[in-house]
Symmetry: C2
Subunit: 577 residues, 2 copies
Amino acid sequence: MAYTESWSGKINRKLIKKLHIIDVAAGREKADLVLKNATFVNVFSGELDTCDIAVAEGLIVGLGTYQGREEVDMTGKIVCPGFIDAHIHLESSLVSPAEFARAVIPHGTTTVITDPHEITNVMGTDGIDYMIAATEELPVDVRFMIPSCVPASPMDESGSNLDYRDIDSFFEHPRVQGLAEMMNFPGILSADSATVAKIVASQAHHKKIDGHAPGLRGNDLNAYIAAGVYSDHECADVEDAMAKLKLGQFIMIREGTAAKNLEALMPLIRSEKYFDRCMFCTDDKHPSDLLEKGHIDYICREAVAMGADPIRTVQVACLHAARYFLLNNRGAIAPGYLADFAVVEDLKDFHVVTVYKKGRRVYHDGTVEPFPLPQIPEHLEKRAHDTFHLPVLSAADFANSRPRGVIGMVSGQIITSDEGYAGGVDIQGDILKMAVIERHKNTRHIGIGYLKGYGLKSGAVATSVAHDSHNIICVGAEDADMAFAANRIAQNHGGIVVVRDGQVLAELPLEIAGLMSEKPLREVNDLLENAKLAAYSLGVGKDIDPFMTLSFMSLPVIPTLRLTTRGVIDVNTQQYI
Amino acid sequence: MAYTESWSGKINRKLIKKLHIIDVAAGREKADLVLKNATFVNVFSGELDTCDIAVAEGLIVGLGTYQGREEVDMTGKIVCPGFIDAHIHLESSLVSPAEFARAVIPHGTTTVITDPHEITNVMGTDGIDYMIAATEELPVDVRFMIPSCVPASPMDESGSNLDYRDIDSFFEHPRVQGLAEMMNFPGILSADSATVAKIVASQAHHKKIDGHAPGLRGNDLNAYIAAGVYSDHECADVEDAMAKLKLGQFIMIREGTAAKNLEALMPLIRSEKYFDRCMFCTDDKHPSDLLEKGHIDYICREAVAMGADPIRTVQVACLHAARYFLLNNRGAIAPGYLADFAVVEDLKDFHVVTVYKKGRRVYHDGTVEPFPLPQIPEHLEKRAHDTFHLPVLSAADFANSRPRGVIGMVSGQIITSDEGYAGGVDIQGDILKMAVIERHKNTRHIGIGYLKGYGLKSGAVATSVAHDSHNIICVGAEDADMAFAANRIAQNHGGIVVVRDGQVLAELPLEIAGLMSEKPLREVNDLLENAKLAAYSLGVGKDIDPFMTLSFMSLPVIPTLRLTTRGVIDVNTQQYI
């Protein structure tokens, strides 16, 4: 067995570092790093201060006049605490955690709180363990909220089912902050034991519990909050946010790829009374969005452009999330805090020029410093790359002789409409066949339905990014192409494909759990954009994101009709039709 | 062995309560208690709101319209969250913790953070255990910071010496919040291992560490804060407070019996930028002060009278201390928070009419509801009442044939002056003999010196409240009376006596560790005031508190001269003179 440190040994090890920190702070020893003449955002006084920032042992040790073994002049720049994303599903970037880190570091992000909801639906607790392993010692500190709702619905056939004991088993991990968004607010409101037990277990470990309850009000909101839900990131307007804030919840202002609430929630940031219970999050960030817009720096830029006070904006971007998550040594520039810095040119554009993580420069002037890739245990690596368990399919598997519900796409929205029944594909009427193929447990369940409004004229499109269970969703004009597309995805261990006449027109393999690629973000983005073009070339409407829109078609918690592995379901009645 | 609950059992037990809370909050079941038509301070929105406040299982479960098994109309009153004292030495009240609770409940205090520094100097870790046991289930929630500096100085002969392992052993206790005021800032600044290890151990348990460093500045302050000290309650002016606040410390605004900083620090409360890092504390509250002025309610009243915004004042009095100490379910009126209420007539006088603790009415209209006294383990009870270990003394023990240093009292201040040497008592010249008698370990150490400015003309005064080691301090005109006074204190197991010609003129026994009485506060106060009158009748100057002033004469960390069990010491040089 590996050597296990004694408690005394741990204290003594930390003591050596602490004595060094004191010696440096007192000016008796040189700092590891000094940011000279640094103008920085003091989140405690709400001012810009200018002095030297001394760093030792990865921590800020002093603000004043210091000498360092390395000194970097900061004249003309502004040093912010590293930015924090309070809630993201890291899988939404479609790249590995290491590649995600490489993508967000240039934007000054030094901490993200991720909810590995997607991979957990595929791999269960192994998904959480995989993500924890895959984020060890990354230059971005990745913290975890444990998924609270796997599967999202009992109607779903996911790869796993997490009860409170599964969740409980993660709370001793030093990078686990709590229980992720409790989407199952009906379960809480109806006092469902299995659901509430997850909150109770989290509280028993003194952990945070995030919420997800758009528009909840009155005594239902009281009950949801009294149950122990401390935050919400689903507020689309100020009224919703204020109702929750007044009852004690912290508000995560979300501005991501799919949902954008910043503009609507600007009054919270503008108010001196409310902003200190607000933080920023993205929820989902797709590759092109990360590449083109940025991350928390982008939200800061937008907020200031909309009239927010720049220093208050930095407080929202750093300090408040840190305090909410009890990450009490980050989010500020002061002695004892992590030396996480986002150095920007000004507090208007928030253009990040240099980033430090724990006193180490991890980004400068367009270049991310190389960092070692985390070692992922072999069994988890193997498991993550072997998540497709289904037989080889043929056109016969997609044959259909019954009337099936027609799911209508609604332009620009995630909800769907009920378009009656169809007995087969009707290209003229824009009615395509859709299938959801169970791929976790070899059950051979294939749900068949019809989709209206997608625009495809020939071939098929398929994706294994299929919320929340991430089975294979396939839409096609021909049964043979649908079978070909699904088989191709299984061969690739996941991803997105566009096919016609037994030929792959474009594809993006997502070999990690069928959700993420090992490739660099830019390459993934190129493949994805290429696949979109291929889908458009087959007739998919230009106003549609061919894959993201599709990925929500199997989520049986959003009205009106959805398709699961068991058929078309009316979400409002929870009845198969 | 007693039955130990399994983890599953714990979760299931809490789950039952939580399901009930949800049912009440949702309006399906009646609340245990409803405060009807309650106008309350919403510390999150900074407004007064009016609605019903529903309580179940000791928690607030809903704000809205509710029915309860008990309903109390709150029309015309204002409901505040229960007040929090962020730092007090509970022993300073001279009464038992239960009596202390009885004294502060009528003032709306529902949580105090105590540092049992005094009793720990006498009894070591047993003192901490005694105080924890003596505060179990009191109607005021007593939380602990573990003393960091016992003894206060190596020059002191105290009853114990706490190293980091002693301190570390308390951090798993659910009512222990951290490490108490780190007064030994020179030890931190010089990177003394034994001192710094106490901070390291506290941090390893993710605990708070309070500070005590009046006037520290520059890189010394950087070093002190970088070491891990998160707050300060010794700021006597705004400059000091701002220097610390800007470096990330939380500021405890102290207004107690001995030190009063509220007026000087009012700008912090007046500023919207700084007040959210401020809280109130008293540090020390003597009996008459508790009886005549009040507690945190008094500080609120004074603050508002000096121009503070009333709602902001309540935030400082409740929410900010709760958040600092990570007591995240108190300090506010919102679902999930403890049903701790201080019901006041208005936000000007803060006259408290009713107090609830965890939903139970504990005070109303002049009457504290009866509560069960905590059961203190027999061995601790016995140990606390047997802390005097010294021989019976005679006049010969106080004889002196050498010149000894003369300690000069400075009117209205805690510092002393160096008044040269004396060879004997000189009543005309107001020079009295003073002795500090070691009383913990039967060492027979008796330090002899002289005191100028006390005014005593005959007899002797003695006290076992003698900071910080709480040996017996005795001042007298006659050796025989000094011996008689010291013996009397030992017989009483501690306290204060005023004697003349072998007769007790007045006395206050403090039989708990020589520091606290079992008697009710009012009775203790009467005895104390009576003893003061007796001391004045013997000539003690009316501008002097005869016992409090004396109690600091043995504290060898405050300039200039002090008397320890080993003689008169020059604090500045740390040399015996």
